[in-house]
């Protein structure tokens, strides 16, 4: 049926392709880095930081949705858990340096994520989405009702403080490069996770769960870990956001936010690394541009329309479609 083939040569070819792929990844990462390093000289740093925070949030969400195949409809809870925890600590303990506040926020979101995961992971599909939505609504009502969160008003005037007690973060440029460093670190971490041995198992689970079970994988444990990492990074995004805007508001905990991150991921391209970054940039920009013009009351319907068009016509999103195009015409 088949001619004898030289195994070593095939293996060599595979390794060569791997290093070619790695080179491509490095070049893309390099371009992204240069763009982001130069960006604050062309645009307002606070706006850029907003984009970076949402991009990190979407990257975190995509790890679970795009790479594990779990659609969580409660990720706003982690964004809020991070933001409120950091906000509360930095407002009330003046001795605390900013990075410690951010770490604490991330830890809070991680713990919350573990709780969510343990309660929801056995459910599939729509039921999983509904359980995560219900749990995140619980968090929302907790934040509305509690005293220390400022209830309906949220938390205002969160001090940005000093990084390591040294670098003054009230300077927008300093803060921008700090946020950028955190964002890039997380982006590279997710890149690493996706290609790691663990990432291979996630891929397998996403593509054929019964088969992964029959190969001896305890799939729920892998899913819980993915959920927890995703929640941690979402919480980190929230913590950064509360420092950038000096504000933690109920918007972050609202189910709208859970929907928005789905929109960002889908528009940018789920299951691609760059997709959520592009999607977040796109959505944040559209929202901003529209709110400046005569269409300011139409932001939600327009975003809704974009969502529908994406799902119907460009299912792989901006980055996904570009990848397809490149593969077809240049590869």
């Amino acid at each position: 049926m088949t001619q004898p083939v030289n195994q070593t040569e095939i293996q060599k070819a595979i390794l060569e392709q791997q290093s070619a792929d790695n080179r491509k990844k490095m070049i893309l990462n390099g371009v992204l880095l240069l763009l982001l390093l130069a960006a604050p000289f062309a645009m307002y740093p606070v706006f850029l930081m907003k984009i970076l925070c949402f991009a990190l949030f979407a990257v975190a969400f995509n790890l679970l949705f795009g790479f594990t195949g779990l659609l969580s409809f409660g990720h706003a809870a982690f964004l809020a858990a991070g933001g409120y925890t950091t906000g509360y600590l930095l407002s009330n303990f003046s001795g605390l340096t900013t990075e410690l506040g951010i770490i604490a926020g991330t830890v809070a979101a991680t713990v919350l994520g573990l709780g969510f995961a343990l309660l929801s992971i056995r459910r599939q599909g729509i039921y999983f989405a509904m359980v995560t939505l219900a749990l995140s609504q619980l968090v929302f009502f907790f934040l509305v009702q509690s005293e220390f969160t400022g209830g309906e008003d949220g938390m205002h005037g969160i001090p940005r403080g000093h990084l390591f007690g040294l670098v003054d973060l009230s300077d927008n440029y300093n803060l921008y490069y700090f946020v950028l460093a955190v964002f890039l670190g997380c982006y590279l971490l997710v890149q690493r996770i996706v290609s790691s041995p663990y990432g291979q198992v996630l891929k397998a689970i996403k593509q054929n769960e019964p088969r992964a079970i029959s190969l001896g994988y305890n799939v729920n444990r892998y899913k819980v870990l993915a959920f927890v990492i995703s929640a941690a990074l979402a919480g980190l995004a929230g913590s950064l956001k509360s420092v950038v805007f000096q504000l933690a508001s109920l918007n972050d905990a609202h189910w709208h936010m859970s929907g928005e991150v789905i929109l960002m991921t889908l528009v940018g391209g789920m299951g691609t690394l760059l997709g959520p970054v592009v999607g977040a940039t796109f959505v944040v920009n559209i929202e901003y541009q529209l709110s400046q013009g005569p269409l300011r009351d139409w932001v939600d319907p327009i975003l809704g329309g974009i969502f529908v068009i994406t799902v119907l016509a460009f299912r792989s999103g901006i980055v996904g479609e570009i990848q397809k195009f490149v593969k077809k015409n240049l590869g």
Binding site: M1, A13, Q200, K203, A204, N208, I213, S214
Partner: protein, 261 residues
């Protein structure tokens, strides 16, 4: 006593809301045998498979693997003990390459499956073994092909290679030749024969030609219960087996006509 049997079920029962899908099944699979499970559609063959691998939970009864009771174990744990199944519809990971499909199976024994911080290159040391397995099913040249692009017969071969990567002691094959043309069937028969060396195989199969060529022993299921068990010559001569395959006694005339054709 139970040493010679790799797998035993004792009074295995599965009920779905009053409907008995598997009715008091006692199987004994001898070590080294290729054992076939046959029967008409709806006889409960796949349900038995799902019970053995705990994709379904038995209502009553016991499952013994090498004399040990494995009834309470979960699917993944059963796979790690050495009972690995294939599926009726080809079960591959469609958007991974053929090599990656096998590597995922090899990874189970590597203790790195939770290492999300390790680089993907740390898996390359498994490539050699992957290539050997791919070569053993004639797929070496497709190592770097995305599985979704492989022809159906090759997907099934890949699935078998992936299953073998687990080094199972007991191989459960659910209709390995389903949906295949003549040539492909022959090559699968060869593959199963090769794979069965030093292992025990339990297979569900519709194609009696395949069963007669491969299997040492046959259990016939009908309506969830064991109808008979024996070697191919005994089973195929049993009038009750003909009856469940061809229809009831009333339909006998039609059945005879069909066989005559």
């Amino acid at each position: 006593m139970s040493e010679q049997y790799v797998l035993e079920t004792r009074n295995l029962v599965k009920e779905f809301k009053g409907f008995v899908a598997v009715d008091d099944v006692n199987l004994k699979i001898r070590k080294g045998h290729i054992h076939a499970l046959i029967g008409p559609n709806g006889a409960g063959k796949t349900t038995v498979f799902n019970l053995l691998t705990k994709f379904l939970i038995p209502t009553r009864g016991q499952i013994l693997f090498k004399g040990q009771d494995i009834t309470p174990l979960k699917s993944a744990a059963i796979a790690r003990r050495g009972i690995v199944r294939s599926f009726q519809i080809s079960a591959v990971f469609p958007h991974m390459t053929a090599l990656e499909n096998i590597r995922v199976a090899l990874q189970t024994s590597e203790n790195n499956s939770y290492s999300f911080w390790k680089s993907g290159a740390s898996l390359n040391k498994l490539n050699q073994r992957c290539m050997e397995l791919l070569d053993s099913v004639g797929l070496a040249e497709f190592a770097n092909t995305t599985t979704v692009e492989l022809a159906y017969g090759r997907k099934r071969a890949l699935e078998l290679a992936t299953t073998l990567a687990m080094e199972p002691e007991l191989l459960l094959l659910d209709e390995p030749t389903q949906g295949m043309g003549g040539e492909d069937v022959d090559s699968v028969v060869e593959l199963v024969r090769k794979a069965a060396k030093g292992r025990t195989v339990l297979m569900v199969e519709h194609n009696l030609g395949v069963v007669s060529k491969l299997c040492d022993r046959i259990t016939v299921l009908a309506q969830g219960a064991v109808l008979t068990e024996g070697e191919y010559s005994e089973v195929s001569a049993d009038p009750r087996v003909r009856e469940v395959y061809m229809g009831t006694a009333n339909d006998k005339a039609t059945a005879d006509r069909e066989t005559a054709e």
